[in-house]
Symmetry: C2
Subunit: 201 residues, 2 copies
């Protein structure tokens, strides 16, 4: 801080904005939190929030403090091979990331928080749909409206795999290596992402 009490320097201001964002997303949920309100709380101009984090989604991602960049995941998954093997890459990537987390700590913390607190559920929903699976479904060729349906289906199987493998330890799903899970689960994700589904009502 400068002698007059105003924050100076990028890193101090960035930290103050991030702290305000974590409080706001945590207390009010994703939907009710605005860039403007976070800026006010941090005592900075909204343009500065956008300067540091790009958008409300960018701010949200930073506030989540994930061990990886979830928005970076989508281009990686899409570019990793043909679109008709996207389901396989999703299984490999998610199981790979989860298996690499000691005790699956961050993922289980988000899940625990989401089943008990509506605002944490808001955040996990925004992350899963807004940041990862909606853009992934769009990138795989779905239209904007259909992408929500495909994204929520993919999320349901990915979430269920996490709960089955790491929370309930359902065998043999819990101890199978990723190579054995891929042929079992990838066809489900592939159908949800790019397969023929009933037309929406």
């Amino acid at each position: 801080m400068s002698p007059g009490g105003r924050r100076t320097g990028d890193s101090g201001t960035r930290s103050a904005v991030l702290a305000a964002a974590k409080r706001a997303f945590g207390e009010q949920g994703y939907g009710a939190t605005s860039v403007r309100a976070v800026a006010r709380e941090a005592g900075v101009d909204p343009s500065l929030v956008l300067h540091f984090f790009g958008s409300k989604d960018g701010l949200f991602e930073a506030a989540l403090e994930l061990p990886f960049d979830p928005s970076g995941l989508v281009p990686l998954l899409l570019a990793g091979g043909p679109v008709d093997q996207l389901g396989e890459r999703v299984v490999r990537t998610f199981v790979g990331v989860w298996d690499a987390m000691p005790g699956q700590g961050p993922m289980l913390a988000m899940l625990r928080s989401a089943v008990s607190h509506a605002d944490s559920a808001d955040r996990l929903r925004a992350l899963l749909l807004g940041v990862v699976f909606h853009p992934l479904a769009r990138g795989a060729g779905a239209g904007d409206a259909d992408a929500d349906r495909r994204a929520s289906l993919v999320a349901s199987q990915v979430l269920g795999l996490a709960v089955a493998r790491y929370v309930l330890h359902l065998e043999p799903l819990a101890s199978s290596p990723a190579d054995e899970l891929v042929p079992l689960v990838a066809p489900t994700l592939q159908r949800y992402l790019t397969g023929d589904l009933e037309p929406p009502p």
Copy 2:
């Protein structure tokens, strides 16, 4: 109680056994709880526990106090129509039961407890696999070893559907009527139950 302090009458003894079972399953988990230990705790002979509840599984189910009889579900699902429409009946039945619970209370309570307490996870695992999905996969024609794999896959999608619909409220999955969910999710469950899967390693 009789004047001498011994429990008399079936209903008093049954309640005492059930209370001991809830404590034991809750504190030690499903695996570490024995009929013998529950009987000792309740001050009765193990044969009396079996007289009232049939088996350890029966005791476990009674201790869960579900709003429906989960072991009754399997014959109903199997008898409800052709085996190649079993996936559809599973979606309809689970979504129907969940939708009918006010606020999905008991289901969410089990899920919340399971993500935070290992012994609750033990109970939910025993319920899902032991009582429902393993017998269902067997009834649909799977061999004993393969049934575990199929059952854990079915459980993963069913759990994920519950989390997506009732915890995270992923739209449009959250507000779609069961009729719209069936053609989306039933093919996944049908493949897991009776479809061609990679041979196990």
